[in-house]
């Protein structure tokens, strides 16, 4: 966005004669390369989003037309309306939302204390525990979901939103624990001790001092969890039949659905995740800015 194109200032023969400008040029060139790389990656990410959005707002005719134009030709909400009108879409959308939030709440409620313990206490098997957490991610969801489906059937939870949320919580927990652990490590211990000295119990010290300082990081972790749950499709598809989440619903009807439906589905999946990220943006920036100290 910046710098890359600024022209070199007019150099009068003067104070900096004899200064070696090669490092400066190198530095400028490197900075430009970084900018270019950033742009390329952004384009790589944004292009599919743009195309999906474009397709979702096109009429059937222009979708089938060839060659396609990259500028919006005839904006219409017809495709989206028909998608939203299709059976099961609105309920599955709500299901996805519920699953995502439930996953978020559960994984933060369970993962944060674990992360805190990892950050603040030295206990036997701490390193092994950390490694073990990562191992759980090594199991593919497909492998997990079949026995889980059986288990949920016996537990009477099969085909419920709760079952999917539990699966997603299990999937998200390792990252939640490890991320929150690093966040708590970044909150200086002194601050917590100061709170203890000035009249807090351990619990109120956490509430008064640690939690506010860790909040941006925890928000980022929960954002990650939500998006993970929102996008997870395999497990959700295996565990549910009628109570599908949106990705599972779209995936399930992919084969027999028309092209516009697919694009509209893609768009519907995209938007909530983007909105969520947008809302959490402040906390993310805080985290990587300078909230602590």
């Amino acid at each position: 966005m910046t710098a890359a194109g600024t022209a070199a200032p007019d150099r009068a023969a003067a104070p900096d004669a004899g200064v070696d400008r090669a490092p400066l040029a190198r530095r400028r060139r490197n900075r430009m390369l970084v900018q270019v790389a950033c742009l390329a990656i952004t384009a790589f990410m944004a292009a599919p989003m743009y195309l999906i959005t474009l397709a979702a707002f096109s009429t059937r005719e222009s979708l089938n037309a060839f060659p396609k134009s990259f500028a919006p030709a005839d904006v219409s909400t017809e495709t989206l309306r028909s998608f939203l009108g299709a059976t099961g879409v609105v309920p599955s959308f709500l299901n996805s939302l519920v699953v995502g939030l439930l996953t978020l709440v559960l994984s933060v409620a369970i993962g944060t204390p674990a992360g805190y313990a990892l950050a603040r206490h030295v206990f036997a098997g701490r390193d092994a525990y950390q490694l073990f957490l990562l191992f759980t991610r090594a199991l593919p969801i497909v492998v997990l979901s079949v026995p889980l489906a059986r288990f949920f059937i016996t537990a009477g939870l099969s085909d419920t939103v709760l079952a999917v949320a539990l699966l997603h919580t299990a999937l998200a927990l390792p990252t939640t624990v490890l991320i929150t652990a690093s966040i708590f490590t970044a909150v200086p211990r002194d601050l917590e001790e100061a709170a203890l000295v000035f009249g807090c119990t351990r619990a109120s010290a956490f509430r008064q001092v640690v939690a506010p300082l860790a909040l941006p990081g925890i928000a980022a972790a929960s954002l990650f969890t939500f998006v993970l749950s929102w996008n997870e499709v395999l497990g959700a598809a295996v565990l549910t039949l009628t109570n599908r989440t949106l990705p599972a619903q779209v995936l399930g009807s992919l084969q027999w659905s028309p092209l516009p439906y697919r694009f509209a589905g893609g768009f519907a999946l995209l938007v909530p995740a983007l909105i969520f990220i947008f809302v959490m943006r402040r906390y993310l920036l805080n985290m990587w800015g300078t909230t602590l100290r």
């Binding site: 002194d190 601050l191 203890l196 000035f198 009249g199 119990t201 001092v209 506010p212």
Partner: protein, 363 residues
């Protein structure tokens, strides 16, 4: 306000081989300003944290105001603490930082406001009450930490190297302010530092620590003038105390010391010590130097003279040994000049050659 009684406090950190404190006992009287002084890693912070309740001892006891608090939570001890890193809460404004402890006690809002105003006035923080700590300079943050500690009206105030993060000038200024403030408040105070100047200037008593033990505890001038061991003499004072290999002899009932083949008078009380090799401790500023020969003075050769402004520090060679002598700034001396050094007998200390422990006579 209350007295602090530590007895036989012993602590080994899990995984740490050596104990961080070894059976330390210390009594700080009500209203006294006690300084814990020692080199890095000697266990000062550990001791302070055990008083605060942030660390639990393996054995021993801590009593505050006659009440046993050894295993009580920090908040049950009615003490407050100034942390080395200040530990002001970055997410709270200065006013809320100062009032934090009172708010936790659920004090009346009006009372809290009064106290904040009082402490802010005392520490010149009125203009900053609405700021966040990140918008303050190091010295201002320091003052916030002190203000937060004093509004609690604690029985005991603990301070862990509170001045160590300040630059030299600010430290000097703040040291004087702190001393005045704490004298006015009259709170019992335990102050940790590894800076001997700070210890001497602030403390009513100084406890010198080494390897987890208190090796000497007394008023600053006593610790300075008669260090209990060579370690203390070498640690306290700038320049450190001179230590000379010498031989103690008795000459017709009078004690004399013999350094590099020359004799000098010793305190009369030393006649009680056994004759033989000892170490003599002498402060640079207690030695009087002369350019002309004098009886009873030791002859030495100037090696280097360093003018320090208010005095000149001369390093001289006495036989094989180096000795630092403080002379007036206008004293005419240069490298290679002969000097006659008058050791004032009453300001000498005598140490065992092999243990470095002070020899005392029961005068």
């Amino acid at each position: 306000m209350a007295e602090v009684e530590i007895s036989q406090l012993h602590k080994t950190y899990p995984g740490g081989g050596r104990p961080a404190t070894r059976d330390v006992s210390l009594t700080v009287a009500d209203g006294e300003f006690m300084v814990l002084l020692g080199p890095s890693g000697c266990g000062k912070t550990t001791l302070l944290r055990m008083i605060a309740g942030l660390e639990l001892p393996d054995r021993g006891s801590v009593r505050i105001g006659g009440r046993d608090v050894t295993y009580r939570a920090p908040r049950e001890r009615n003490l407050s603490m100034v942390f080395q890193s200040y530990a002001v809460f970055p997410h709270k404004k200065v006013a809320d930082n100062i009032g934090f402890g009172l708010a936790m006690r659920k004090a009346d809002r009006a009372v809290i406001q009064d106290k904040i105003a009082w402490a802010a006035g005392l520490l010149q923080l009125e203009d900053y009450l609405d700021r966040y700590p990140s918008q303050l300079s190091g010295g201002q943050r320091q003052r916030v930490a002190v203000a937060r500690a004093i509004v609690m009206e604690p029985d005991v105030l603990l301070m862990d190297e509170p001045l160590s993060n300040l630059d030299a000038l600010l430290r000097l200024q703040f040291r004087a302010e702190l001393k005045k403030l704490l004298t006015d408040l009259g709170t019992t105070c335990v102050y940790v530092t590894h800076d001997q100047v700070e210890a001497l200037s602030l403390g009513e008593r100084v406890a010198v620590m080494k390897d987890g033990e208190i090796v000497q505890c007394g008023p600053p001038m006593e610790v300075y003038d008669s260090p209990a061991s060579e370690f203390i003499g070498g640690f306290i004072g700038s320049p450190p105390m001179n230590f000379l290999d010498a031989t103690l002899r008795r000459d017709g009932g009078e004690a004399v010391i013999e350094v590099a083949g020359q004799r000098s008078a010793a305190p009369g009380s030393w006649a009680a010590f056994a004759e033989g090799p000892v170490r003599i401790g002498v402060r640079a500023e207690t030695i009087t130097a002369h350019r002309a020969e004098r009886s009873g003075a030791l002859r030495a050769v100037t090696e280097v003279a360093e003018p320090l402004g208010s005095t000149t520090l001369v390093t001289a060679v006495l036989g094989e040994q180096r000795i630092k002598v403080q002379v007036p700034p206008d004293f005419p001396v240069g490298a290679g000049d002969d000097l006659w050094l008058d050791l004032r007998a009453d300001r000498l200390s005598c140490y065992e050659r092999d243990t470095g422990r002070v020899l005392v006579s029961d005068r």
